[in-house]
Symmetry: C2
Amino acid sequence: MNSLNYVDSHLDDLVFDLQMLIRQPSVSAKNEGIEECAKLVQKILKKSGIHSEILRLKKNVAPIVYGEIKSKQNPNKTLMFYNHYDVQPAEPFDLWDYPPFSGTQKGNKIFGRGATDDKGELITRIKAVEASLKTTGDVPCNIKFVIEGEEETGSAHIEDYLKKFKKKFACDGVIWEFGYVDAKNRPIIGLGMKGLLFVELSVTESIRDAHSSLAVLINNPAWRLIDAIKTLRDSNGKILIKDWYKEVTPFSKKDLELIKKEPFDENVFKKEFGIKSFVGGKKGMDAKKAMVGGATCNIAGFVSGYTGDGAKTVLPGKSLVKIDFRLIPKMVPKKQITRLKNHLKSKGFSDVKIKVFHGEAAARTNSSDPFVNQVKMAADKSFGKSILNVSNAGTGPMYPFVDILKSPCISIGSTYMFSRIHSPNEFARVDLLKKTTKCMCLIMENFGKF
Amino acid sequence: MNSLNYVDSHLDDLVFDLQMLIRQPSVSAKNEGIEECAKLVQKILKKSGIHSEILRLKKNVAPIVYGEIKSKQNPNKTLMFYNHYDVQPAEPFDLWDYPPFSGTQKGNKIFGRGATDDKGELITRIKAVEASLKTTGDVPCNIKFVIEGEEETGSAHIEDYLKKFKKKFACDGVIWEFGYVDAKNRPIIGLGMKGLLFVELSVTESIRDAHSSLAVLINNPAWRLIDAIKTLRDSNGKILIKDWYKEVTPFSKKDLELIKKEPFDENVFKKEFGIKSFVGGKKGMDAKKAMVGGATCNIAGFVSGYTGDGAKTVLPGKSLVKIDFRLIPKMVPKKQITRLKNHLKSKGFSDVKIKVFHGEAAARTNSSDPFVNQVKMAADKSFGKSILNVSNAGTGPMYPFVDILKSPCISIGSTYMFSRIHSPNEFARVDLLKKTTKCMCLIMENFGKF
């Protein structure tokens, strides 16, 4: 039996372990179940024959679950799997068809927070290594697992972990924590990630809420905050902060070629979200360029005053907005924070308080690296086809990997494009979990060979 | 013993009954405890010797508690006390120092939702009638109580009740449900109330929340809603909706004289709310004119996306804002709603959905009515001083009383200006409850005499 057959015949085990992982909530934003989940991941690694240990940085920082298995046949080349065991909050709970931490299976779908992002992806990597070990008694190259617990709150400590364990983590290539699969079941091989700057802006006008009849005299912090954030962006999505795009370089010819080749079905996308048009009326190549290289200023949350049912005539004392900026290559988070602060000051909004949750730079891997072709060959064989993507629209802490480990990073995985990650009714598709596990087997083989 | 002595010697009973009322939650916005509270009010009325009955309009409408006592000495003149037994929601619960429905007494203060607004005020009226009955066996004029249960959600059915029970409710003067007492313990005799238009505006961009990386293409409903509401008002508070102020007449000379006489300590007010300046930089006479006759467009609530702790990179599908407009005399709610709708349409925001919670016109009583002087004399005697106010900054359903019952309406009561009504830690002051009860005794006497 080769490893691919093993994956077929042990699919039930994979589903079982994934459900077990989903049933252990691990919401990093609320510090809910983090330690418990790390221990569970370690247990699953060991069960698959992978040596594992819990790495710690300091108190109140989620541990990293580290896994390692040395290759007898090829001890000089190391492939790393980077994943995370934490998940996004499951709110709003009432929009879920099944309990978010139930792992309910309905046909080809397994529902639950983290079903795809990232517990589903993690299980494919583990099961691929298991398949190789169980069928050959070896792995085609050294394997390292770095499984962190703070990805969904911005991987605040991954850089420190990479620095502290630089030697332990040394490797020649990294398979990223996820990879999208499009509506036509084509895996998207991602060579980059955008960066992210998450901030909270708040205005306090009075020391307490007041009766709204006093709005004739007491300033309303929601109006004030709206005045402030309206200056950040025009209605086409362009960010109006001075020098925001200053260091950004245009797409190279090679980038543009890849973007042009990349399929993107606008209608399927629009139908999925029930929308009629895109931001700023973008279409075709412009829409595709925005996905790969567009910067955003997104309101992730806004709250002020009474938000329950019915009417309450209140003048809130405070208002708060959570904004995430997607950053593109060459944007330096620290610089952008300074620009945001200067912008608000220069526009007369010194009263707006800024709390920075985290900043993370964008990263891109060179498309001519041999690792790219090894992954592409594996994906083509496992899925029958694949797509090369210059950069994902999302964010992951790829920059410190590229910067500290000096390794090419590629994202490839089982994340169906419409699997509702970060939303109610997130699900994983069993067919994609299987194909991805096989793809990981083939990547290890290709990587060991060349 | 005269009625004023009776009030002094029975103050503990008043406090006890008020605490009992506070301990029965009656949140009309959530339909919580309404029927139970109506029954409790009826019980308290009966205990004080007042005939009482529950009046109903139709299903799902809060009942009115009606009370009546005929005068033997003066059966030809009728004074009505209008009050309400419902309260505002108590949220945010975590900002209360004592449980909001505990009625905890600390020295001169009784804390609780409704302690002042309006359970405290109601109890002063009831106890004044009791004092008269217990000391003279009669009341100086006929007394009617109309105690409704939907004031805090906008008195949606008071007009229907007044029409249905027009004969039963016939009277020659109305004492309003509350009256403010300023920082120097001067009761403010109010001759008018502003109107109110409460609306909810919402934008839906996509059928579900999405990962915020998709903000490059999917429009954000919070940005859209902000774009829309930014057109409603300038940063000085002026409403920009076409013809919003069209029918409004300027203050009369008499109005301006009264406004000028009215004391207003800007510094005390600012200190209480921890603010440094007023909307649009208003000062002195301009600030006073705004309180009496300013129209507002206030954000009472704004919610979109993730509003919990920490970071969540989500692109919300929907956003919602609750806005209350204070209306001034001559503004017709229905007309203003049409103007708001036309405004949004003409500015290109046809996608913004409007839900109207209710509209209520402003009302003012003529300051030369003899009833005004009767109340002023009573207030001066009981409190040692008083202030005449052309219009309160707040709203109450005074318009249908003036319009249907054709009776002058005057607000006078125990509501300490900084008693945090509608906010956490609402409280009533026992000294003011006592003075107000005595004032009500004197108003009945003056009203019966002349």
